[in-house]
Assembly symmetry: C2
Homo-oligomer: 579 residues x 2
Amino acid sequence: MSVIKSEIRGGVYYDSAVLMALQRSLADLPGVEDAGVIMGTPTNKELLVRVNLVTPEVEQAKENDLVIVVRAGDERAASDALQRVDELLSARKSSIQQDYRPRSLDGAQSMMPDANWVLVSVAGRYAAGVAREALRLNKHVFLFSDNVSVEEEISLKAEAAQKGLLVMGPDCGTAMINGIGLGFANKVRRGPIGVVAAAGTGLQQVASRIDQLGGGMTFGIGTGGRDLSEKVGGVTFLMGLDALSRDPDTKVIVLVSKPPSPKVADQVLRVARKAGKPVVVNFIGRTPISRRVGNLFFASGLDDAAALAVELVKNPPVLEGEPELPIARFAPGQKYLRGLFSGGTLAYEAQHLLTEYVPKVYANAPINKENKLKDSLVSVEHTIVDLGEDEFTVGRLHPMMDNDLRIRRMMEEAEDPEVAVIFLDVVIGFGSHPDPASELGPAIAEAKAKAEKAGRYLEVVAVCTGTEEDPQKLSHQIRQLKQGGAWVETSNEVAVRYAGQILQALNQPSEETQLIAAPVDLETLKKPVKALNVGLESFAENLTAQGAPVLQVDWQPPAAGNEKLASILERMKKLSSAE
Amino acid sequence: MSVIKSEIRGGVYYDSAVLMALQRSLADLPGVEDAGVIMGTPTNKELLVRVNLVTPEVEQAKENDLVIVVRAGDERAASDALQRVDELLSARKSSIQQDYRPRSLDGAQSMMPDANWVLVSVAGRYAAGVAREALRLNKHVFLFSDNVSVEEEISLKAEAAQKGLLVMGPDCGTAMINGIGLGFANKVRRGPIGVVAAAGTGLQQVASRIDQLGGGMTFGIGTGGRDLSEKVGGVTFLMGLDALSRDPDTKVIVLVSKPPSPKVADQVLRVARKAGKPVVVNFIGRTPISRRVGNLFFASGLDDAAALAVELVKNPPVLEGEPELPIARFAPGQKYLRGLFSGGTLAYEAQHLLTEYVPKVYANAPINKENKLKDSLVSVEHTIVDLGEDEFTVGRLHPMMDNDLRIRRMMEEAEDPEVAVIFLDVVIGFGSHPDPASELGPAIAEAKAKAEKAGRYLEVVAVCTGTEEDPQKLSHQIRQLKQGGAWVETSNEVAVRYAGQILQALNQPSEETQLIAAPVDLETLKKPVKALNVGLESFAENLTAQGAPVLQVDWQPPAAGNEKLASILERMKKLSSAE
């Protein structure tokens, strides 16, 4: 019968690579069936139960206790294995060629003063402390460690933002800086695509696909998966986006995130709109309404994001200037939309698109029941009325054939001091009114004059649907509508988005989304990577393999992992620096 | 002071064009300020109130009463106006050149027996009856009328489906058949794009944009906005899609709908997947998760749908055959997915994509809180575990560096008789395990063997993320995973969709979506339009203007609009035909 034996060690620290190696070595010993070397967290202990590696002693172990367990064929083999633990630990050889290993970041700094990056992958409970030291030395931080509290993350990022430094992480799996991969990183061709990602394997998937499709990258800036949460507020993400916007070698930006906070995502998108270059967006779980809005290209997934970016590099899109919005012309209190549609589908699409701009649009034929207008004849706040709905067409011609009802309603809406925008669709073709704009054009002029007389400004936006070959001729209709003073588009989406932007501006008064961070110094960021590595040795080995200079720090936790002593030391440090 | 006078007429029928003309003529009479000629519905009466055109008599009017109101400067002018009503009604001239007007469809049929279409635009309460007559004469029906009950729609479409005839409508605004527009229709170039639309102005917008972009159309098949509701079940939509799939001149199909029933939309998409040609889909309000799935291209709006269709004609996509799913190999009871991820983002994206295939996926890092796994170590139904989550990495190497935990879990899952698919991500690159597939490949083989021994089949799907230049070399990893028996992709989306299809097939046993409709005869559908028009004369005029032969039917409601008498007549007709 098998025998299980265990040993618990408190107050020691080894990195996880060392623990894993020990576990493997123990399992390979003669007579040993299985072995576990873990920290005593609940999940870890439950895992030991599931593989039959638990003893009463293990059950009592605490989170920061090192737990070593073996299951062997007999008593003897189990005891022998445990007795060899120290020998196995000390037998472990490093593959890093480095004559002297500094024991602190300060020591490393004096050996490699021009290092621009610090990689941190020590256990989560120590990681913030190391990152803070790195910031004090004015280095960018690649913070691989997870199990770092969100409070620590916020405070680290606040400090970094003040200094124009990037804190990538915690829990940042990957980054690519000037062709050098940090952490988990794929070997990707250099090229004009820059990625910011709150999504480690998301960034790896996008980068790999870019390479597979023949594209290449300037930067892959990881932020840690929590960066776009409401609490953290996207500090690193926004700093990264800003840096890539300024980088002349980055022609296309890709933004990737695990499900972000809607509020932070909105802010990121507002900033991205001003990047001055194409930005591909893939926020997982936030399905975009449109494929493209100005310079933003919404991807439907990681692979699509990569493909879109490569395509945009090959065929750079024309980025038209945004139309200037007549915000300043409106009187105080003007803020609502009144959409008077003849086409039901156009009215639906308008409602759908407007969800991106205003919280609620009432309608007689609403997309969601709760937005149903109580009385189709009385507009409420933002309202879209489909005048072609059944209720309006009993014994009455369809509004595409007869403008009477719509013109009457438009005059009513123009009297409402809260109305800013009136939206019309003008659908021509066989069957429709023979020359609708000949009536609507002058009516628009009248409505606008009415508002002006009352000291207001009324924007009338029209989408005109039809062709040049239609009996009413598209260009002839557009001309007459413009003569009436309307803003005219042939795309329903473009027209609705124009109106939507006005409404957004009027209803969310300029809460300017200013990044309080100091901008990242682009010159420093574009320097070759030179790094100090604190934690997993393999990360240093990888940098060496990529030809980047790196110094491994032989870091040990304060007070050799004794938490109480460490906290006393920390308090003394604070006191002395406060003096 | 103004005087308002009204007249109510019961049991009469005029089409809405006649009523509108009368209203305009009355309003133009000397001394008349405004006039209203409407049917006495609540909305119409409220409209009269709003323009100060109401009398106590008007308030009492019933839905089927014709209401005539004038407001004039004095008593005399008001009375004079009302007295001229009959004169104005009879003075109305038709612009249709037609020597003899048949008074019924039967009469029209004998005059133009080879007419293939009947256009119906009489008042809603009579429209179904006319449409039914048309079906009995074996004609396709363009049913413009609205205010037709959904029960009538269902019964009409059932009858039409049996005969392989299309009922476009009720409330169908537009259609384009072989270059001829029915109802409201734009003059659009002929070309290889066919559109099916449960969305009148949606179809017009798409058609107009196709023309503006230089493209052209075979057919524009309208169905009426309610066709994709759950009750109606998409009868006409599916018949139209089927016809366009078979039409050799249609190279690209576009599907447009106002917000459809999710269930019916799913069915349409399943049928569209088998169309054998590219299908562009724009279902308003149903934002697609992906840009493309096989031959389906999801557009983000009406304009995008048109642009995509034109682009797909220019650059026909390669439509690869679908991989055959190993459904038959699974044992009864096998139905669940177990996703064992090392990458958090890949795990999130997988959850997001799987919402299209299965109702719920549990996860330790779920997209929605309600899908949170109670115990990360115990899978429930469909489960995705991110083994790189904080809970697993305390004192343990990340699963991208060490396969131990994942392999143990895979063996556990392989023992579960309900598990059909195991999904893995294998992320290579600097920092990752030096050769993960050398361990995972044999483990996959072992897991599959375990299942086989128990009389089951286990599908292992893997996405491999990385590049050829990575230390582990992408192709080398893929080869080893395939040797282990895994289905391997480099795109996370493609891999997840493959797994999703298997799960869908295993969890929704073959409820075959058979269209019970007789297929539309393509030869007849492609014949030049020759139509009988019942209702708005302008629709006949438009056909004439487009060069299509048309016969206007001088239709009057049964029993001259007397509802009671009409229903007695209808019952007698039924009795006699039942004999």
